[in-house]
Structure formats: structure tokens, C-alpha cells
């Protein structure tokens, strides 16, 4: 099991989400969602299915328009080009360029975004893609495809990597290995990551801090200890402070 890091991270946020609200007709999928992402950390957006994680990510990634709120960098609202230069968003459940090979997909994204080509070999090895480079994207299993997409995400030049359900489709062994890989790429001076995870055990394995989301609202933000204190302050103290218990107490 990968141990959560305890290193100190800069207190200033790389990016802040301020009162993000998104409605689909009469349904409010994200309701004044606010949280901050600190440089070098892995922040997990935790919530059950239908809690609004993907909606929040689509808005952050610029794929869906916000109804209210803003995405801030250095305290100022980010324009679309500024946001694109800070973060790279990897959606869940996509099969881009199904007729093209993995090698082609990696080359294309590196060429288009100007990512770090020297990392290419390392990332390909980390995700065990060497033997699959000539396979077409459309022919891959769900887990293989997820590994390719995560590899693409890590090769992109933006400092913040935002991935929706990075462990979806992976088995337990792959989840642990990839969690370790993601951890190795994150840290001060390296990459910052914002991951949406619905499996709380997976989140506990990889994230430094957590944002708990339920019914489109943020129920808490912080490390496990901070969230335990928050639960206690609300009169819902947990006996054994695990992320699952804290999540249940706060949502």
C-alpha cells in the first residue's frame, strides 16, 4: 500500500475554485463548490456516483460552461487560454482516436501540446505500454485504455493534471501500481494533481488532501486529520478516523 505523504506543501493555492455552480435544467449538479489546489499535492475530489464530481471537473476543464462562480489563479479569474496553460483535464469514459495506434496517440498529443518528449520512455514503461504501442486505441481493454490516457496526461506540459476517475476500469493490482506511479510524478517542483475518485479506499491510497462532495455540495476539505476534526466539530466524531468513516460522518 502506498503511504500518504506528509510533506509540507506551499500554502498558497495553484488554483482555486470559487462558488462553482452548474445546473442542467432544474437540477443543480454543482452547488457553489469552492476549494483550492496547492502546488505539488494530490487533491482528491471524493464522492459517490452522481455527487457532481464529473460536472465539477468538466467545468474546471473548460468542457462545460459554468453557470456561476470562477476558477482563480493567483486570486484572479482565469481566462480560457490561461486555464489551458495551467491544467490538463483527462475526462473519464473516452476512447479518443479509436482507429489510431497508441504510439500515434502519444506522438500526436506530445506534438500538439508540446509536452516533455524526454519523459515519454519513462511514462511508457511506468504504465507498461511498450508492448502495446502498435495496438489501436479502439481495440484496447478499459484498463489498457485508462493507462494510455493517464500516460498522455502525465506527458502534457501543464503543471496541474486533472483526471476524472483515474482508477476506473483498473484491477486492484493495477490500481496500486498506478497510484504509486501518480505519486511518483507529484510533489513540490513536480506535478500537481486533482483526481476525482468514487472508491474511497483508492482515494485514501493516493491523495494528500480531500474534498468531500455530496449532492453537488462540498461537505469538507482537508487532510484526513483536518476532516476528522471537522466531523468532531459538527458533533459527529469518529472513533477510528478512516476516510470512509469521516466521509460518512460528514455527508
Amino acid at each position: 500500500m502506498v503511504e500518504a505523504r506528509t510533506a509540507d506543501y506551499p500554502s498558497f493555492p495553484l488554483m482555486s475554485i470559487n462558488n462553482l455552480t452548474k445546473r442542467y435544467g432544474f437540477v443543480t449538479a454543482a452547488d457553489h463548490v469552492s476549494f483550492s489546489i496547492r502546488e505539488g499535492e494530490i487533491l482528491g475530489l471524493i464522492g459517490p456516483n452522481g455527487s457532481g464530481k464529473t460536472t465539477v471537473f468538466e467545468c474546471i476543464g473548460g468542457v462545460a460552461p459554468l453557470d456561476e462562480g470562477a476558477i482563480l489563479g493567483n486570486g484572479k479569474p482565469l481566462t480560457a487560454p490561461e486555464r489551458n496553460s495551467i491544467l490538463f483535464y483527462l475526462p473519464d469514459a473516452i476512447t479518443p482516436w479509436p482507429a489510431q495506434s497508441i504510439g500515434w496517440a502519444l506522438d500526436f498529443m506530445l506534438g500538439l501540446f508540446g509536452g516533455d518528449g524526454t519523459l515519454s520512455r519513462e511514462v511508457v514503461d511506468c504504465f507498461e505500454l511498450s508492448g502495446l504501442m502498435h495496438r489501436r486505441m479502439g481495440e484496447l481493454s478499459k484498463g489498457q485504455r485508462k493507462r494510455v490516457l493517464l500516460a498522455i496526461g502525465l506527458l502534457m506540459p501543464q503543471p496541474l493534471f486533472v483526471a476524472d476517475e483515474p482508477f476506473e476500469g483498473l484491477d486492484l493490482r493495477q490500481t496500486r501500481e498506478i497510484a504509486g506511479t501518480l505519486r511518483s510524478f507529484a510533489g513540490p517542483g513536480k506535478r500537481t494533481m486533482l483526481l476525482s475518485i468514487h472508491q474511497i479506499s483508492d482515494a485514501a491510497r493516493v491523495c494528500d488532501r480531500f474534498v468531500l462532495l455530496s449532492e453537488g455540495k462540498v461537505r469538507g476539505e482537508g487532510t484526513l486529520a483536518e476532516l476528522s476534526e471537522l466531523a468532531a466539530s459538527r458533533g459527529r466524531a469518529v472513533k477510528e478516523p478512516s476516510l470512509e468513516e469521516v466521509f460518512l460522518a460528514l455527508t
Binding site: I94, P96, G111
Partner: protein
């Protein structure tokens, strides 16, 4: 962090790879050969028979022009392809990105949606030019038979089909971008196409305003080029349609922009298009590129007509569906408009077909009015019209020495069947297999 700016070339290569990976493109390319082949073989047979093959009376085909006899029917296959195949290639290229989720990744590159659409448009143009190799093979075959080729008129026909393809591709891209699903985009595209045919039908029945609109439907625009005529108004309006279509595609491609804003931007594009199209419809310059000047009076007549400075008014009492009116319009009045900017033509009729107006003594009359003088004739031939106008203007009719002798060719379409039904499909198959193996 600054991202590299050479993204466009990567995008271009990606669009090309995506085009080559789509089945609809290969089907489209494969069908181009037989489509062109059936038109070309039929046209050459007819041309040969009219030129005296199989004992038909020699001399009938002496006034034959390859433009009308060969190029217009052969290239008409491109029109079929542009209406029924190319839009689906464009829809596949647009909708594929959205359906696979690739668009969500690619849109994060700080490149404008217009640049992205430009990459798609360039690849579609390249694809269309490759497909045009099929009719170009017909040109080579015709030359090998000893047929006459007048390059300007062939180039004009090709220009018309490139513009028509541009409109079809822009329409396909726009509908694919606006609609959530490719099937919806296909239905929208066909609706627009059928809508343009309905306009043509209404114009034939009611004439007037509808006829003016019909002038700018893709079918009618291509018809002008197929007659070797380049009209500035048609060029400008076709360009406006193409740019507006691709602009709409770019606007609706952006996922992270509110629908309301995209609607506003679409309205702005539509308004700009109308602002461009309306004055463009009044652009007069035209160029007759046909070898036999089929869209023009003789040079002597044109010179004589250009000396008439006063406005000429023509009142035609013929119904829209009356064949005499069609004849008069196509063979005389269209030519007259090109040389006499101050001609005003008015069609008068109480019904659309004219069948029940025959008893009306005024039906069939064509009134010409120049400098206060009026005269009437019922003849619809160009010669009669010119004589009437010269008479009113007091000009001596010029002597016309100019006669197009035509290029008769009594040769059957040797080898065309093998080329279009054998060589072309084989070449496409070889390319397809090679491309799949290389990937």
C-alpha cells in the same frame, strides 16, 4: 507556461489520419470511379453517335462542344457525390472527435476553433481533390481518343464542383457541430439539400422572387459553371455560404461555451452572411469561359449592344413553366443581362403554367421599350430579339462571321469501362490495404 505554436501542423496530420481511417471516405472514393465512369461512357457514346458513329447522319455533331457533350455530364457525377457522399465524410470527420471524446482533449490546446475548422476544411478539400482524379482520368481518356480539350472551360467546370463541394462540406461540418449525434446531422444536411430542391421547384412554378433565390442554390450555381460561365455574384455568394458554414461549425464546436452565447454568435454570423450575400447578388461581372461562347452573343453583337446607353425595358407575357419563356430566358435574356447592365426585364403572367391563358390575346407577347419607343414580337429566338432591339435603337445589325464549327468525334469510349470499373476500384483498394498495413 507557453505551449508550442506548431500545433496546427499536428492537427492537420491528425485530421488526415482520421480521414483515412474512416470507412465513409473509402466508400466515397471507391464510388467516384463508377459514378464518373457511367456518366463518361454514356456521354462519349452519345457524342460519338451524334458525330456520325454507326451510320448516323454525319454533320449533326459539327456544332458539338465537349463542354456540353462530355464535361457537363461527366462532372455531374461530382454533383451526386457532393450531395450524397461528401457531407457524410465531413460529418464523420466532425462528429468522430465529439463521439470518441477526442474533442475534449484537443480543445484544451490554446488554438482557436476557427483554426481547428480550417484544418478540417483543408483536409476535406484535399480529399475532394483526390476524388476529382476520377473525372480527370476522363479528361485523359478523352484526349487519348483524339478529343478536343479547351482548358479554360474544363477548369471552370472543376471550379464549380470545388465550390459546390465546399458548400456541401461546410454544411456537413456545421450540422455535425450543432447536432449532438451524427444521424441528426445527416438528417439536417439532407433537409437543407431537399429544401434547396424545393426552392427550385417553387421557382419553376411561381417564378419571380423565387427564381432569384433559386439562382444561388447549389444545383443552379453548378449549372452555371457547367455551361462555362463564371459569375462574380455566384463566386461571392458561394464563398459566403462556405465561410458561414465553417464559422458555424467553429462556433458550435466549442464545448465550454454557453449555448446562449453560441446562439448569439451564430446569429451574428448569419447577419454578416446576409450583409455579404445581399449586395453580392448585384455584382455584374461575368466571364464566359466556354469555347463556343454559349453564354454570350457574338462579339459583333456585343459590341453593337454595348453602344446602347439608354435603359431597355422588356415585358414578357409568358408563364414560368411555359417552355418558350425558359427558352427566351436561357438563350437570349441571360446573355442580354451580361452585356446591357441597364436592361429591365419583367415577366407578367396570371398562372404558373400558362395553359389557360392561351385564349388571352396578350399572352405570348414580348414588348420591348427603348427611349419611349415600344414594339412587340412573339418570337423567342435570340435573332428575333436582337433584330427588335437594333430596330428600336436604330442600329444596323452587325454581320456575324463568327461561327463555332464544333469538335465532332465519332469514337466509342475505348477502355473507359476498364479504367473506371476496374483500375480505379483496384487502385483505391491497394491504397486502402497499404494504408491499413502502414498504421
Amino acid at each position: 507556461m507557453r505551449l508550442r505554436s506548431s500545433g496546427f501542423w499536428w492537427l492537420l496530420s491528425k485530421e488526415w489520419a482520421e480521414l483515412l481511417s474512416s470507412w465513409v471516405w473509402w466508400v466515397f472514393l471507391l464510388l467516384m470511379g463508377p459514378l464518373v465512369g457511367v456518366s463518361f461512357v454514356s456521354a462519349v457514346h452519345t457524342y460519338a453517335e451524334a458525330s456520325g458513329l454507326h451510320g448516323t447522319s454525319a454533320g449533326v455533331g459539327e456544332a458539338f462542344s465537349p463542354l456540353v457533350g462530355i464535361w457537363a455530364p461527366t462532372f455531374s457525377a461530382c454533383e451526386v457525390a457532393a450531395v450524397f457522399l461528401l457531407p457524410f465524410v465531413a460529418i464523420r470527420l466532425m462528429a468522430g472527435d465529439r463521439q470518441s471524446g477526442a474533442l475534449k482533449l484537443e480543445l484544451q490546446h490554446p488554438m482557436s476553433a476557427f483554426t481547428r475548422i480550417a484544418a478540417k476544411a483543408l483536409v476535406l478539400l484535399a480529399g475532394w481533390l483526390i476524388a476529382l482524379l476520377a473525372p480527370m482520368m476522363a479528361v485523359v481518356l478523352w484526349k487519348s481518343y483524339g478529343g478536343s480539350i479547351y482548358a479554360p472551360e474544363v477548369a471552370t467546370v472543376i471550379l464549380g464542383h470545388v465550390l459546390n463541394a465546399g458548400i456541401a462540406a461546410a454544411l456537413g461540418c456545421a450540422t455535425a457541430s450543432i447536432a449532438e449525434h451524427p444521424a441528426t446531422a445527416a438528417i439536417l444536411t439532407l433537409t437543407v439539400t431537399v429544401g434547396s430542391w424545393i426552392v427550385t421547384f417553387i421557382a419553376a412554378v411561381h417564378g419571380g422572387f423565387w427564381e432569384q433565390i433559386d439562382d444561388y442554390t447549389p444545383t443552379l450555381m453548378v449549372a452555371e459553371f457547367q455551361h462555362g460561365l463564371i459569375r462574380l455574384d455566384v463566386l461571392l455568394i458561394a464563398a459566403a455560404f462556405i465561410l458561414a458554414g465553417f464559422a458555424l461549425a467553429a462556433i458550435w464546436m466549442r464545448l465550454g461555451v454557453a449555448v446562449r452565447r453560441r446562439v448569439y454568435e451564430s446569429v451574428i454570423v448569419a447577419v454578416i452572411a446576409i450583409i455579404v450575400i445581399f449586395p453580392s447578388a448585384f455584382a455584374r461581372p461575368t466571364w464566359d469561359m466556354s469555347e463556343n461562347r454559349m453564354n454570350s452573343f457574338s462579339r459583333d453583337d456585343e459590341q453593337a449592344l454595348s453602344r446602347i446607353r439608354s435603359p431597355l425595358r422588356i415585358e414578357v407575357h409568358l408563364a414560368p413553366e411555359d417552355p418558350r419563356r425558359v427558352d427566351l430566358e436561357n438563350r437570349t435574356l441571360a446573355k442580354l443581362r451580361r452585356v446591357m447592365p441597364r436592361v429591365h426585364i419583367e415577366y407578367v403572367s396570371a398562372t404558373s403554367i400558362g395553359l389557360f391563358e392561351q385564349a388571352n390575346p396578350g399572352y405570348g407577347e414580348i414588348w420591348y421599350e427603348l427611349e419611349g419607343h415600344r414594339t412587340m414580337t412573339r418570337a423567342v429566338t435570340p435573332e428575333a430579339a436582337l433584330d427588335t432591339i437594333y430596330g428600336l435603337a436604330g442600329i444596323t445589325p452587325p454581320s456575324n462571321d463568327e461561327t463555332f464549327r464544333g469538335h465532332p468525334l465519332a469514337v466509342p469510349p475505348w477502355g473507359a469501362t476498364i479504367v473506371f470499373y476496374g483500375v480505379w476500384p483496384l487502385a483505391v483498394a491497394v491504397w486502402f490495404i497499404t494504408e491499413r498495413r502502414l498504421r
